[in-house]
Homo-oligomer: 518 residues x 2
């Protein structure tokens, strides 16, 4: 897109201010429509012959004042808040510009939040037909009938809607969770050690508030789940990324001064590896020795296929050092917003305090339905059913990829809802394939786009040719068609030039794309 | 309660360690049962002839290790987590004590959270029959029938349960909220500036993350809603409490360097005063001049009785400096856990980022039901109905208090769901009356117990004879009986000695009670 911008190098006005003003006018005049993607800062800088920093700062100011919005990792867009007809921003009785500019800017300077968020739906605005987005259950398998039956009964006793509940969550739900993790994950616990949360994400925030202050060292896996890394960093943690291989995080490389380590032992996010039994022992020993906690994120452990899963780290927690995070987002659906923490006894009271401080308590109704759903045995039944179906889909996806690409190199498929695919040599690098596939109506995801933090050049290069494919939400027909299109995309003429991009270059190009406004 | 403790002043072991060990044994042996209230630190210190600090530190360690739990403002209790039969803590495969002690302690030292929570239900464990607890709607008035009808229809389209939603909340709900605040509070806004939150409490946390870092100056009212003050302080804010009188917060006493002021202009919490029109103008002018934001907590503005309410500060927000917080906790029920923020356009993106970082998004179902409930007009109908009923109850409570106590001095009754009562001279001071009333089955609340932060000796003395009474959740029969018992309590012989306590002394005694473990 070529924007009608003209920079006057001899004007008294700064280049940045000129750029800001001209783009602002294009937006308020309606020539730049809401949700239009802006050119990358580097591209625009080259076009105009100015420095990239100038563009970055102009974009920043436009974002701060509501004209642009950042949609990472894609880039800057004209704000969807601009009236769709193209008119000016809907600020009624707005003060004069002279008045607003500096005041808003100075007030805006009060903002101290420097965190970044992550994507829960998809980083892209426009959906694709065949979307292998990660961690998404199949909505068609939601146990609607049983759920409705329980809901109908509960509506009669609507009392819970009117009042606050206990900050730790509904007692019946906490008991049902204790029973469930006892049977499925080998964890001996009680309702007293369980705090119900708005998903694992809230559990991560509670932990951050409990343990992190400026500079607190926190070990994360490399690569690591971005939603966790962002929370820790936004609270001031010093992240210590530690290498992951096919046996999970490399325990021998752990530092000795961490407050805690954040791990995904059942199905490492994003690589899908399982932490080996020996490393589990070593990890516990490391935590005991260094007085660190272990945060065990067991996000998709309800799904395992070839063998029974290893017991949770929490089940071996002889020294009260493991904090376990679980969720119903994968087994039932993220729209319920129910997860939980299982804490060592001496930490439960603090976690409950933080939870209370954050939002008082959980909503009653969904907790009550879920508690009954679990107690009735319907949850176990649902798990067995979906596990079987997802197993079939996983097998089918692996088969299709192998057929279409001549023996695909798959890892992390033994459990969970996504697998990782090491791309064949003739395919473009991960991020290029991702963009190419979208034009064919297929969603596959490079690690970075798939909510992973990949730290360091070495790791970036290593994973530049890996993509993640979620398989739970697509049926066999959809998987078949998705992979067919993927094969077509990689063999299309427009894929050809991209094949020449070396992994390192691809990785750099990608890094620039991501970084183009901070 | 006399505990069988014996301190050996000539032992090599420290007094604190002796105390810790002996209490711990009483608990694990089952002689101190779960949920038993511990003696106040001062009382125990006097009994044993040791310093209060020694007791405080022993209690702290017992709390940290899970043997005791603090239930503020009442005090320390034996943990409910100790097995109810009296056995030791349920730590299976527990390491030896020598091993556990220092390790747990050192690991416990990793905790950096120093915040305090507040009470959403009641600070007391045992309910009373006639409870004038504040901010509680009448569960019997919940619009169950309509709610169920909408729920039934929505269950058919259960799709929202399976997936994440937008971090800012369900679009339809945000639109319904924009319409509602336009009509009821004079606020011109759009769905784009609204973020749905888990109650106002979450909105306060989002603001804290946006604006507060170590030492950030934040103005609060004095007295102030404790749930807000605790959030700000836990993020490191320097609170600047500013005096409140019958016209709301005293705007002339505001400092010039605050990041924001947190106010409850419709119905000041806890005093119930309404911010006067002149002060509203002055406050906006102060914010403009000092580049501060105004956080307007409009928690119970759906209820007003004698005259129409003043428009929200946000409705006069010509300089994009007001952040408005609203909730359905009072109009429908806190168990729904739905509130919202209305932000100036330039802050919306940051608030949405923080919300996403905290817990990704809101649960779908309740949002969807509420959106339809509002769009259908049922919400307006419900508000008119409850407003009328609460009006009658308020009138009746005022009448009963006046009859029983010969012309009660009431304030803050023009709006909301609670009023404040300046106790007559013959009654005990607020906190004493509160305790006395409970023994008669009646819940009334001193400002402090009712989730208020009262700062400074002067304010403590001023409000030492004020109690809060919520009137929305009790019908006329209950109000009548509650006030009858209250009158009986104050005229009972056991009330007599307390009458001799001067307000200052009462206030000090109360402060000690509150502070007895930090």
């Amino acid at each position: 897109m070529q924007l009608p911008l003209r920079i006057d190098f001899h004007s008294g006005e700064s280049l940045q201010s000129q750029l800001f003003e001209q783009i602002r006018r294009l937006i308020t005049d309606g020539r730049l429509r809401p949700s239009t993607r802006m050119p990358a800062s580097r591209v625009l800088a080259d076009d105009l012959g100015i420095s990239r920093n100038t563009v970055v700062h102009a974009y920043e100011r436009l974002t701060a004042e509501g004209y642009l919005e950042m949609r990472k990792p894609v880039g800057a867009f004209v704000s969807s808040k601009v009236i769709a007809g193209g008119g000016p921003l809907p600020v009624a009785d707005s003060p004069t510009e002279d008045d607003q500019g500096p005041t808003t800017a100075r007030r805006h300077a009060r903002l101290v939040f420097r965190g970044e968020s992550h994507f829960v739906i998809s980083p892209y605005d426009r959906p694709v037909l065949y979307d292998f987005w990660v961690g998404r259950p199949d909505a068609r398998l939601f146990p609607a009938k049983t759920w409705q039956q329980i809901s109908r009964q509960l509506h009669e006793t609507h009392i819970g809607n009117s009042a606050y509940g206990h900050p730790a969550g509904l007692w019946e739900l906490r008991q049902a969770i204790a029973d469930h993790v006892g049977a499925s994950r080998g964890i001996r616990t009680s309702a007293n050690e369980i705090v119900v949360t708005h998903g694992i994400q809230e559990g991560l925030n509670i932990l951050a508030r409990m343990f992190i202050t400026g500079g607190t060292p926190v070990v994360v896996e490399n690569p690591c789940y971005l939603g966790a890394a962002n929370v820790f960093q936004s609270h001031g943690a010093k992240l210590l990324p530690t290498e992951v291989d096919s046996r999970g995080v490399d325990v021998e490389k752990l530092p000795t001064d961490a407050a805690f380590i954040y791990v995904t032992p059942s199905h490492q996010y994003p690589t899908g590896s399982t932490l080996s039994p020996e490393r589990r022992m070593q990890l516990q020993e490391w935590a005991r020795r260094t007085h660190a906690y272990i945060v065990e994120d067991d996000y998709d452990s309800d799904f395992f296929y070839d063998t029974a899963p290893l017991p949770a780290l929490k089940s071996l927690d002889r020294h009260d050092q493991v904090i376990y995070l679980g969720t119903f987002s994968k087994s039932l659906g993220a729209g319920l917003r129910i997860g939980y923490m299982i804490l060592p006894p001496h930490l439960a009271a603090t976690a409950i305090s933080v939870k209370g401080l954050m939002n008082n308590c959980m909503p009653w109704f969904t907790q009550a339905v879920l508690a009954e759903f679990m107690a009735s045995g319907a949850f176990q039944h649902h798990l067995r059913r979906t596990r079987m179906i997802y197993n079939t889909r996983r097998d089918f996806l692996v088969k299709m990829l192998s057929q279409r690409f001549g023996g695909a190199e798959i890892y992390g498929a033994q459990a969970g809802m996504h697998l990782a695919w090491q791309l064949p040599e003739e395919a473009p690098a991960a991020f290029d394939l991702e963009r190419l596939a979208r034009s064919y109506g297929v969603g596959v995801y490079s690690f970075k786009t798939g909510n992973s933090l990949v730290s360091g050049d070495e790791a970036e290069a290593r994973y530049a040719r890996s993509v993640m494919l979620g398989f739970a939400a697509l049926d066999e027909h959809e998987i078949e068609e998705g992979v067919r299109r993927l094969a077509k995309a990689t063999s299309a003429p427009d894929a050809a030039p991209r094949r020449t991009v070396a992994p390192e270059e691809a990785s750099n190009a990608q890094a620039q794309e991501f970084a183009y406004i901070r």
